[in-house]
């Protein structure tokens, strides 16, 4: 039961990864790609780590820390990248 749940989490995470990383190859703007990357890197990775957590419950503190730092860092990074790249565009005109 737990194994099925864990596999499900990891598969969802991998689907998120592929779906969110694929637009990187396109020609959209940086911000549009940032949206899909936040799906892939934050939510997808969190789903994968949840899957790992269900598989090895006795190491929960470390994986919980991984979850928290994933959420915080990736979100803040999204904000910083958005801020830095748009100020440049705003400078152009």
């Amino acid at each position: 039961m737990i194994n099925i749940l864990s596999d499900g989490c990891m598969i969802i995470g991998l689907v998120f990864w592929f779906w969110g990383t694929w637009p990187l190859l396109g020609q959209r703007s940086v911000l549009y790609k940032l949206h899909s990357l936040s799906v892939a890197d934050t939510l997808g990775s969190m789903a994968i780590v949840m899957g790992l957590l269900l598989r090895i419950p006795h190491e929960w503190p470390l994986l919980l820390l991984a979850l928290i730092s994933l959420a915080i860092w990736n979100t803040v990074l999204g904000y910083v990248l958005a801020y830095c790249s748009t100020r440049e565009i705003g400078h152009d005109g």
């Binding site: 703007s29 949206h35 936040s38 799906v39 939510l43 958005a82």
Partner: protein
């Protein structure tokens, strides 16, 4: 009150990192948490903090819901909107607000003006009227 929250956050990280609840480790963790320098914070009210932290917990399923929405229905249109920040926010609460908006995949804060506005970049299914 936010000072206690600050200590609590440090202790949580310490125990998650060490995964050891013995008395020695507890003493060490408390010492480090107290000794680490902290900036002069202007503490907000406890109610604001609890409310915002509750919003953070609620944001996680919301983010997954939005992710599935984006995946099922393609959102091809981009727009920039201005959103009003709540009045009288301390910097750490502002950080949590920006975190909340950016965490959900449809919206990203790209700039915060000093007058209390966020520039929010969002993707939509149809162009803005």
């Amino acid at each position: 009150m936010a000072g206690y929250l600050n200590l609590l956050l440090r202790l949580t990280i310490w125990f998650l990192l060490t995964a050891d609840l013995s008395w020695d480790n507890l003493l060490l963790g408390v010492t480090i948490a107290v000794l680490l320098p902290r900036g002069a914070t202007n503490p907000g009210t406890l109610k604001d903090w609890l409310y915002t932290l509750g919003e953070v917990v609620a944001a996680i399923p919301q983010a997954y819901k939005e992710a599935f929405e984006i995946m099922i229905y393609p959102h091809h249109h981009e727009a920039i909107t201005l959103e009003r920040a709540k009045p009288r926010r301390t910097p750490s609460l502002l950080f949590l607000d920006i975190f909340l908006i950016t965490f959900t995949p449809k919206t990203i804060v790209q700039h915060y003006c000093e007058q209390g506005w966020y520039e929010v970049h969002r993707i939509q299914r149809r162009p803005t009227p």
